[in-house]
Point group: D2
Chain length 312, copies 4
């Protein structure tokens, strides 16, 4: 599909998003995020060797929140390899992102690295060989290299806001620690975790940063082809919490959402797509973002689950 029609599709989708009446609810448990204007929407597509296409508010930076788990996972796998899987599983949890139920039934081993408990363990694993400053430095270097943009940074106010109010995550971290599945003091691991969640990107930067998961030639080669597939597999089965099955069903692409309203989805071998809109559906994933992804894949025919047939 050439640039022309694709840009047209993005413009259409952005216009439809602008006209949406139901926008979901902005996350309010992190005070700094509660005041975001819910009327914003952006979409961007990055393809190997082609200019990044955008529509909507694609230059507005937002807090990537849980999308950061993806980058930290890539970093952790690079440092620990398969040792990581001794501490965290690879199965969808069927529960909310901050649930403690399965964590108790399974004695402190989180189901996967994308629910909060599993992401906290992943960050903790990176901290085994690095100070918080070093770990966050490595994460920023990774994201900057992936996006090809040295200006990417962490919003300290958002990180501080989460630190002050993150009782659910503190509960998870202390619970993990009580089961011996946290090597560092909860405050240290969570301090790092809250900062990683506070990385700010705009939609174009996020699409660019996702290119390392597209695979094939012409994109930053930060992880091996085998690992790309595995990370995409995890995004597919676990990337949207207890809405992962629905996202796979409706969108048909691996994706990772964040409570800031961002979603990064990968069309393997073809493109990295980022959408952003702050209002969330009841799973805690961007409402307009999910709908936009559904429209995009319907119109482009992109899906990992069938040959590319637009309108199919």
């Amino acid at each position: 599909m050439g640039t022309g029609p694709l840009q047209g599709i993005l413009d259409e989708i952005a216009a439809e998003a602008r006209d949406s009446l139901e926008r979901g609810k902005v996350a309010d448990y992190i005070p700094e995020l509660a005041c975001i204007d819910p009327d914003q929407f952006a979409i961007a597509i990055a393809r190997p060797g082609q200019p990044t296409l955008t529509a909507g508010d694609a230059g507005v930076a937002f807090s990537i929140q849980s999308v950061s788990k993806l980058f930290m996972l890539a970093l952790a796998l690079g440092r620990l390899g398969d040792r990581l899987w001794t501490r965290v599983g690879r199965e969808p949890s069927g529960q909310a992102f901050d649930s403690m139920l399965l964590l108790e039934l399974e004695k402190g081993r989180p189901r996967n690295p994308f629910i909060n408990a599993g992401a906290i363990v992943t960050t903790d694993a990176v901290l085994e060989g690095a100070s918080p400053r070093e770990a966050l430095g490595a994460l920023l270097r990774f994201i900057r290299a992936a996006a090809g943009d040295e200006a990417i940074h962490i919003n300290d106010r958002v990180a501080a806001s989460e630190t002050a109010t993150g009782h659910r995550n503190l509960a998870l971290a202390h619970y993990l620690r009580s089961h011996g599945n946290l090597s560092n003091p909860p405050e240290m691991t969570l301090g790092t975790y809250f900062h990683q969640c506070a990385v700010e990107l705009n939609c174009a930067q996020l699409a660019d940063a996702g290119r390392f998961l597209v695979g094939g030639p012409g994109v930053p080669r930060l992880v091996s082809q085998a690992r790309i597939r595995r990370i995409n597999a995890l995004m597919m089965t676990c990337g949207h919490y207890d809405g992962s099955g629905d996202y796979a069903f409706r969108v048909g692409l691996p994706g990772k959402s964040g409570v800031g309203g961002g979603i990064l989805s990968i069309v393997p071998g073809v493109a990295s797509v980022a959408v952003w809109s702050p209002g969330l559906n009841h799973y805690g994933n961007s409402k307009l973002g999910t709908e936009a992804m559904e429209r995009l894949t319907a119109r482009t025919g992109w899906s990992v689950f069938g040959p590319e047939v637009a309108g199919g």
Copy 2:
């Protein structure tokens, strides 16, 4: 990839399976299945417009068991369309195939059509407009058309064996009924369900029968392209119960397993792959079958999660 190397890969995989010392445990809760020889293994690949390739015991018929849920789902969606989703969800359950825990927490609405409770509801939905005989007739016609083989049949002894011992499924059916999510008497719906599970196919037939999910030209067109994608999506997130994430991670293809030791996996646009070996891993999925699929995808480069790069 041409036929030559692919046949060589299949032969290699069959040889490796033959040499395996750890073969898992044959399902023993259905008496008729408990006496199957665990030393058997088969693999088959069907591609649009090409002869089906096989290795191992590909002519030995086996009980497809839960792989039948796939065909019944396609039938149910054809008859009811999206109305089916009012009675069953589309999310991985994170629990065993016959778990009642989530069913209770979610008041009788099964998580997805591939765990037993959801499959029972799916069969029950088909029975809304058809007698058991008609429903099973329609299912057999569907599978025969998909496989291009009129000889496919149901093994009545296996069905009878399950009927006599299927207390866990009876518990699920009565529980669904108590929540008003079963329209027919439990014995009628389960009678149909046990017969659908007792369909017998050999590995070559199963690979052929799966071609309707490959999509694109040259394969039986039994459902729309859009529906192909959605069924494949459900296979990816829910097709291996609480081992679905692991299968996606290791194999990277949508797949549906059965307790008879069969697995059907789809390479969208490319091929339908069937493997069979009766010994099961602790999730209740074929042990050697899963390992064979992992080897096959590693050597062919097949994966929905990255561009085709053999050995990548």
Copy 3:
């Protein structure tokens, strides 16, 4: 406390019940019970060596339902002794009377003999050495001896009504069977269970029937003093399902409720008290019955948790 003031207290309580505006909801899942007039109320007190006192509709027979579990437990302990506890626990479940959640987590061993699963196992244990007819005959003989009334019988229409609609109990029985914790076919054990639940007593008969748990001289000696204590202990911690703690807190006596609206409570060494009113609270226990027991104990000072101080 002499007869005079006690009769006055009963009359007061019956009058207060008559004036109640909020009467709860009659159980509607058993069709034969759904049509009971909710405006009825009765209370009766039986004391060793004294005439049974009553107020309200104490001559109207009602379905004792789960109160029967008490008598079947006494029978089962008489026949099996402590062997019963290998199949069922003695702990409150913290869940509803027909919950499957803990049954799954604890692999088919019910928490206690008063939740439905545990009562089904208890009945099944009695059926190890007796046919359903013999078991029900023995149960009737036990209740008749306890109440001193040979006219007590089973209402076959109620039993048939439950048999036709008891899907939740069938789910429990099949689930128990699948875990090997049911020795007889589910239909046989449940047929017996539904008949035991359909025993009919009026309030005066129920109070009389409860005297064997009062202990001490002057009451039918059907079980040992040690067993009396243990059955009362189980009634205290488990007799009102997930409302047991609340009943102990508010009433302070061991008690067993039934979905027909009856409650039997024991004042050890002093009296057996029966109340009946068909409307249920959200735990499934008689609403006016519970309130009446609370008033009775407040006015008499009866409680196992403190010395008798009326108004204390």
Copy 4:
């Protein structure tokens, strides 16, 4: 029962405890408790107007741990009255003392004031109108008045030891806070809670301190008769976590255990009994202590569930 035979019974029980080979396992998650000598045992009985009887190591102080929840509950009810029940329930949980499962299912409202989450809420409620120092001062005054001993104190080293390692309790506190059911910073409430658990008493002091729950004349009157009954009821249904039903069944008295190996049980109107032995059974309650209580009640006939019949 006169003093003579009762002292003889205590001496017998202490001798039997001394000869026990199976002593359970000392709690090791609080470092300061892990080094306690498991060979110790004590028993003491306090009756209104009579000298306290003891046997074994009744003068050795131990950490009362969760037995303190009883005194803090009495204090909280004195200050808040029934308002406390808006924040915590009165039902047995059926789960371990530090479980998060029900807390999640019930959205941060603990089942009862004796599991850890409920006790933390109870302490937090007292802190609404008092600083930690004032709350602990009031608790010490209460216990000293109850025991009639001004020397009772808190062991600061034990409190510090819990503070450093109490990750499970920190998880509970942060989780409660995230549900809005903790008014104070987790560190403040838990700091108070850990100090309350670190109150030290010897067995004679604990029996004396329990007299306020015996009721009737001749004992310290710290709470009303009605409240005595309610606290005893809660001890009966919830005082031994998921072993409460078993304790009621075997011992027949309200009781509250602590992980330090102490148990306080009440014979309403008659006596307060304390036992202590550091080794725990699998519920986390004193193993020899529970057995001693079972022997004591068998030999004295004490039980709330039947008239007093020694040997009955």
